[in-house]
């Protein structure tokens, strides 16, 4: 009896080098790299090969040259081969909503898959691929591209072109008014800074002469000139502070603008008076420097908030925006926007597409992936009358679905609505609170100073008060936390994690208990060949299997075909199979080279294999009635899950896996990854119950399945390749598949917490000691105005050193 051998890799193939895909740069599987050298062109998948052909076909090969030289700011991934339909983009109702500009020729798209400068280059040259584009401009900060069409252009062609070269575009419908307003406001702020800077510089130059000892007539000239230059600062540049102070006054609230406006107004008044009387105590230089620096710091803070708050993430793109309406009479399909479909109509869903509506199968039979709703990785059989839901994927042959619900009435939307209403309470930044308390202290100190300085001359006393207010300005205090968060946000993006808001980092740092979902998070989430076991003889029968499964549209057929193709690519022939037949639900059979082959399900009783993955099915390949090969299929554990778990174990004391799947596969996966606590067969409500009372929990998962649980968890992370519904309820999402980026994310979050604590302490020390010195009269207003930004710079330096130059987690 020939012992069974697993033929995943023959010894020849094991010696193949690890090559990088020419297009996406990710490692090429060994069976594809066999026999190729480093200089040859090789791809990790057909998607990348396709994109490469398109790019070189349009003489855009420079893309690869640029790519070699540029750093990646988001991880790379292979190109997909499933294309969405974009016909609906040129629908007039859709254009009304999304298009803008002259003749409604411009539209914004959020582009998925941009990861380096070369992508920017390529996207802006899509015009060489698709006619009818007047201009494409990409913004790398927000990943939004503005597309302006030429005379005969269509948005659909542009979107298709983008997708063909490997980037998925999503139309963006941000409220146009809001973004226009904020842009106008930013511009005004910049102009104010410019004016303040201009005045400050010129005033300071004049003051140099004054300090250096100019004589009577020149002195007088310089003083009056600096006074004149100060007017724009006092009236125009400082206006925001007056407005802030006024509204704070009306609302009876303590606000940082109060002392600032007070200092500026009182200082200006005193300076003008002294200018007229000829006294030497004029403060135009200090005050204009003060206004300029404060305005700049404030602007910096604003851009930080804007960047982290508004992220046009893929969260909106849960359900496709278009579907193919099927007319039974004419037997034709028409791409329409989902809003325009009514219950009772029919839609045609080709294989591989996400279903856009709730409905029943009218015609056809097949399989759908209900992963999104149920969390199960095994496809569900569909017959006439079977119910399907928006967001599920048709993995079998094309279906005609009779629509029962569209848009807000679909099950997935209802689920999301219940999830979106659970608002998480806003966390007040600790530094904000500290700043408020600190401010009250300052005001009291100023008051105390005025009283104690009664003995001194008014001018000297005034000097001290002004210095006090300037140096005590809690700029660094207010800047410390946002700055650290901004840097951390960027570090997270580079590590492969996108955060929803600044409080996310705090929550991640606090989390003590880790809860992991199984399907899609720790495993691939889809059907795949796990093992190809030769039972008899020594032929793998790969080409026979490929030919037999070629015509079948069963998900198992795809998995088998894919694997067979990779297993022995050289042996693939295009021979016609005789007597081919498929028995739905059982298998396929046919005759090849005079031998009768069957591929059908077998029970798996082989227990001498210890490697039990999440086994779900076994099929056997029979030659003339004898079982020759056994193929095990299932949901494979991701390659990086084991290593990530190892690192997470050092970061978390309490780790638990909760899944909607059955006990068997759950504990199989858990034991392989070293997770001791497993709870299986948890439906969404049960998961939510479990996490309701755990404020320090970190939930990692995907699928609308996990949405409710994610909302009540302390903090939630959604995994890529998963349902984008999670993005609406999770605080962070990982852009690389699996949990690979999670340990790094946790490390960054904890480091950020440490940095914020340090910088807050440092700025507090700075401000408090500065205050004391000013009280004692050892600091002049000008020195105060210069020292104050020094504290900001110190904070900046600490944040950079702490976050950018930290020791990153090494990956084996």
């Amino acid at each position: 009896m020939t012992p069974s051998l697993s033929t995943e890799l023959t010894s020849e193939k094991k010696s193949a080098p690890i090559l990088a895909c020419t297009h996406c740069g990710l490692p090429v599987p060994k069976f594809r790299a066999a026999g190729k050298t480093e200089s040859e062109i090789v791809f990790c998948c057909e998607g990348c090969r396709t994109v490469y052909q398109i790019i070189t076909g349009c003489s855009l090969e420079q893309y690869y040259a640029i790519k070699k030289q540029s750093a990646f700011f988001a991880p790379s991934h292979p190109a997909s081969t499933v294309y969405a339909r974009y016909g609906y983009l040129d629908d007039s109702s859709v254009k009304e909503k999304f298009a803008y500009g002259e003749n409604a020729r411009s539209m914004d798209f959020y582009i998925e898959g941009v990861h380096c400068v070369a992508c920017l280059w390529l996207i802006e040259r899509v015009g060489q691929l698709v006619p009818g584009i007047q201009n494409i401009q990409m913004n790398l900060g927000s990943f939004v591209a503005k597309v302006t069409l030429a005379e005969k252009g269509t948005f659909a062609a542009v979107a298709e072109g983008l997708e063909h070269i490997g980037y998925k575009p999503h139309p963006v419908c941000e409220s146009r008014q809001a973004s226009d307003l904020s842009r106008a406001e930013n511009r005004k702020d910049m102009i104010r800074i410019g004016v303040a800077g201009f005045c400050m510089m010129n005033i300071m130059i004049l003051f140099v002469s004054i300090y250096a000892g100019a004589d009577k007539s020149l002195l007088s000239l310089f003083r009056w000139l600096s006074g004149a230059l100060f007017i724009p600062v006092a009236i125009y540049a400082a206006a925001p502070f007056y407005q802030g102070a006024l509204s704070a006054f009306r609302a009876r609230q303590i606000h940082i603008d109060l002392p600032v406006a007070g200092a500026i107004l009182i200082g200006s008044a005193a300076s003008v008076m002294n200018l007229i009387t000829g006294s030497e105590h004029i403060y135009f230089d200090s005050l204009s420097a003060f206004v300029f620096l404060l305005l700049s710091a404030r602007y910096l803070l604003k851009t930080i908030h804007q960047k982290t708050a508004s992220q046009t993430g893929p969260g909106e793109f849960l359900v496709p925006k278009s579907a193919l309406r099927y007319d039974a009479v004419t037997q034709k399909n028409e791409a329409v926007a989902v809003e325009n479909i009514c219950p009772g109509e029919q839609v045609w869903v080709p294989q591989g597409e996400v279903i856009a509506v709730d409905g029943e199968v009218a015609e056809g039979f097949g399989y759908a992936d209900f992963h999104m709703i149920s969390g199960e990785s095994k496809p569900v059989k569909l017959f006439a009358g079977s119910k399907v839901y928006a967001g599920t994927v048709n993995v079998g042959p094309s279906l005609i679905i009779r629509v029962t619900a569209v848009g807000p009435r679909t099950r997935i939307e209802a689920l999301l609505r219940s999830v979106v209403n659970l608002e998480k309470p806003k966390t007040i930044q600790a530094s904000d609170l500290a700043a408020k308390r600190y401010l009250i202290t300052v005001l009291m100190a100023a008051g105390g100073l005025v009283i104690s300085c009664w003995g001194l001359t008014f001018a000297a006393g005034f000097d001290r008060v002004l210095s006090l207010i300037i140096i005590a300005c809690p700029c660094a205090l207010a800047l410390a936390a946002p700055l650290a968060y901004r840097l951390a946000w960027r570090e997270c993006a580079m590590a492969g994690a996108l955060l929803k808001g600044t409080s996310t980092l705090d929550k991640l740092a606090q989390a003590k208990k880790l809860y992991l979902d199984k399907t899609g998070t720790l495993t691939q989430g889809c059907f795949e060949v796990l093992e190809w076991q030769i039972v008899e003889g020594n032929e793998s029968l790969a080409s026979e299997a490929y030919l037999l499964e070629k015509k079948s549209l069963h998900p198992i057929a795809f998995a088998v075909r894919d694997y067979a193709l990779r297993l022995e690519p050289e042996k693939m022939t295009d021979v016609e199979v005789q007597d081919w037949s498929e028995t739905f639900g059982t298998g396929v059979s046919g005759t090849l080279h005079e031998k009768h082959y069957e591929i059908k399900g077998v029970s798996d009783m082989d227990s001498d294999h210890e490697q039990v993955f999440s086994i779900r099915s076994s099929v056997g390949i029979f030659e003339n009635g004898i079982l020759k090969v056994r193929v095990r299929l299932g949901d494979r554990i991701r390659e990086d899950s084991a290593e990530a778990m190892r690192q997470l174990r050092s970061q978390f004391k309490s780790i638990e896996m909760i899944t909607g799947d059955r006990n068997e596969p759950a504990s199989a996966v858990a034991s392989r990854l070293g997770i001791s606590n497993v709870t299986a067969q948890m439906n969404p409500e049960a998961k939510k119950e479990m996490l309701q009372h755990e404020p320090l929990s970190l939930m990692v998962g995907d699928g609308a399945n996990d949405a409710a649980a994610m909302k009540v968890a302390g903090v939630a992370v959604a995994v890529q390749g998963s349902i984008e519904a999670s993005f609406q309820c999770a605080d962070a999402y990982l852009t690389t598949p699996g949990i690979r980026a999670l340990p790094e994310l946790i490390s960054i979050a904890r480091r950020t917490r440490a940095v914020v604590r340090t910088t807050l302490t440092v700025s507090l020390i700075y401000n408090l000691s500065g205050m004391v010195l000013a009280l004692l009269g050892m600091v002049t207003p000008l020195v105060a105005a210069v020292v104050m930004p020094l504290s900001s710079f110190t904070v900046l330096a600490i944040s950079y050193a702490g976050l950018r130059w930290r020791k990153k987690i090494s990956w084996k």
């Binding site: 052909q53 030289q69 400068v117 920017l120 691929l129 900060g141 102009i191 193709l565």
Partner: protein, 74 residues
């Protein structure tokens, strides 16, 4: 006497210096208004891209690629 000369020079220098500075301020305001500062991240990356050498780019023969999927699933 020297001081008198200095004084006159100053009367020219000061307005001149202020005028030049003012010119730049106006240029800055104009730049902000025409939207040059709206996106500050992308231009930093754009300048790193080198143009292709002249001899290699051909603008005449750009083939339109066919979008047939390379699909082994028949």
């Amino acid at each position: 006497m020297e001081k008198k000369n200095l004084m006159e020079v100053i009367l020219i220098l000061l307005p001149l210096a202020l005028g030049i500075a003012l010119f730049f301020l106006i240029a800055f305001i104009w730049a902000v208004r025409s939207g040059q500062f709206d996106d500050t991240t992308t231009p930093a990356y754009r300048i790193l891209i080198e143009d292709a050498p002249l001899s290699e780019t051909s603008t005449q023969n750009l083939k339109k690629p066919s979008f047939d999927k390379v699909d082994e699933r028949g």
